[in-house]
Symmetry: C2
Subunit: 304 residues, 2 copies
């Protein structure tokens, strides 16, 4: 059994590739919920949904987010009404949020709802929200305090960030399912997701960091920064703004003490030496997962 | 200026006919919110929406509820997910509920949201929720306690009712807009809506009954029961189950002390005498509004 600390798209691709290599039932995706939001009264969990949709083969490859075969009837109408339509919710996708919101109103947890949706979509990987409690990634920026989606979607992360905090993390409880998964896993993988806003909201919860420190020998991280840039999103810019080197070395520094193996891209091979000095075993391979065969290669390297 | 105490479909038709006779800006629709519900996290106000959609010419004549040109993408998907899809919410209609729910989260009142939606749809009648507070029509039935929509939609009102209560009515505040409308109206009309579940949730609020008693000479009700039956819905059955005569006479009894004029259908002309004995002036006309010309005739009779 393995566990994968997961953000959205990058983690979803890795999980899909891993589940072609080992039994999906033996894979636990421990997923960030710091991006979750309540909008229009609906509870929306972007990373959980991206992973579920991708593992179900329902993800929209053209858009890079959301569901395939999507339509926009509700959003178009909401726009006509002058409503908040900057966070695009497709008609199919909305059904997920309606389902989740109603089940939460009925007393179900995010863990329950995620399991139900996975069952419905035939997803066998165990997709687990890191916590059932409310946590929210908050940005202090040059334009004031911003919620995750205000920063990420509404302002397209085009604003200088001064600090990031994970509201609620210190009091949130890591679920029993996540603790069991971590304890029973022979390997814990940190997906090539944004360290600061996808992985850190998981690391800051309860005993997660302590578990990783204890299990350091079994923890492997994959750098989401290649040749000084993130494949997608603002990871490089954020690393710089928050005082980290915007390279795979900076990522290794961020995970210092938590990992024993670090996977970097071939293009960064020259940097391997400076990472190794930190008592971390560096593996070099292709880490870009655009091509399914490359994703497979990465999955095999991680499992090796 | 006139005010119309309003439920859903019947009231909407009357309001449409009235606004062809007098300036729509001079008409206040004071609307029942006892049917309102929170489903999937969305705040849904069926009577307010029926009236807004009808006055905007957007109502679905075929279904008898909801919007025209409607599609069902979200509901179909929700059904696939195994979600609660018994309360059918069309894609266009959902945009209304998303808009309202988000505005309420932002601190707007139902009165604010209704005004915004009416402006957006070009509705000039002043559509006013009777209160901004939460009230809920609750049914004690042979199958236990039921919410309005459980009784009305899910069980298709096919269950014996023992009593009805309007939760929250005694502490809810009638809005200033509604009080002003009632005080400034030369005539107060009780629409041909269900007395027990559309009008009573308005009457039970704060000072509404006192105002009607004081203004009795100016209050006109239209019977929703014709020849012993309701045109739509369970009004006749409910009247019987709760000990009222299921005729226009029973409706007049229900409104005793609040009205001075009562409009009944031609088919009930023979019953006029038994009503008049209660110090109520009875007018006989067509009260069925299926045909626009009949609706016009009713509107003129009410305004005469």
């Amino acid at each position: 059994m393995i566990s994968v600390l997961s953000g959205g798209v990058g983690a979803a691709r890795l999980l899909r590739a891993l589940s072609a290599e080992i039994a999906p039932q033996d894979i636990n995706a421990i997923v960030n919920v710091g991006d979750d939001l309540v909008l229009h009264g609906l509870t929306i969990c972007p990373d959980l949904d991206t992973i579920t949709y991708t593992l179900a083969g329902l993800n929209n490859e053209t858009l890079g987010w959301g569901l395939n075969g999507e339509s926009w009837r509700v959003m178009d109408e909401l726009e006509t009404l002058g409503g908040a339509s900057w966070f695009r919710l497709g008609d199919r996708d909305l059904a997920t949020h309606l389902y989740r919101s109603q089940r939460l109103l009925e007393g179900a947890t995010k863990t329950d709802v995620t399991r139900e949706l996975c069952e419905r979509h035939g997803v066998q990987v165990r997709v687990l929200p890191a916590t059932n409690d409310d946590v929210a990634t908050i940005f202090e920026t040059e334009r004031g305090r911003l919620s995750f989606q205000d920063y990420f979607v509404r302002l397209r992360h085009d604003v200088k960030v001064e600090s990031i905090s994970i509201q609620g993390a210190s009091t949130a409880t890591v679920t029993k399912e996540v603790l069991d998964a971590l304890h029973e896993s022979s390997r814990i993988i940190i997906a090539p997701s944004n360290p600061l806003i996808s992985i850190d909201p998981i690391l800051q919860l309860g005993e997660i960091k302590d578990i990783l420190r204890e299990r350091r020998r079994d923890v492997i991280a994959i750098s989401p920064i290649i040749d000084g840039a993130a494949l997608k999103g603002p990871a490089d810019r954020l690393m710089r703004e928050l005082g980290y080197e915007a390279t795979c070395v900076g990522v290794a520094d961020f995970y210092e003490g938590l990992i024993a193996t670090f996977v970097i891209d071939e293009r960064d091979a020259a940097l391997a030496a400076s990472i190794s000095s930190n008592d971390v075993d560096v593996r070099v391979t292709t880490t870009i997962m655009q091509d399914p065969l490359d994703a497979q290669r990465l999955a095999r390297a991680v499992l090796a």
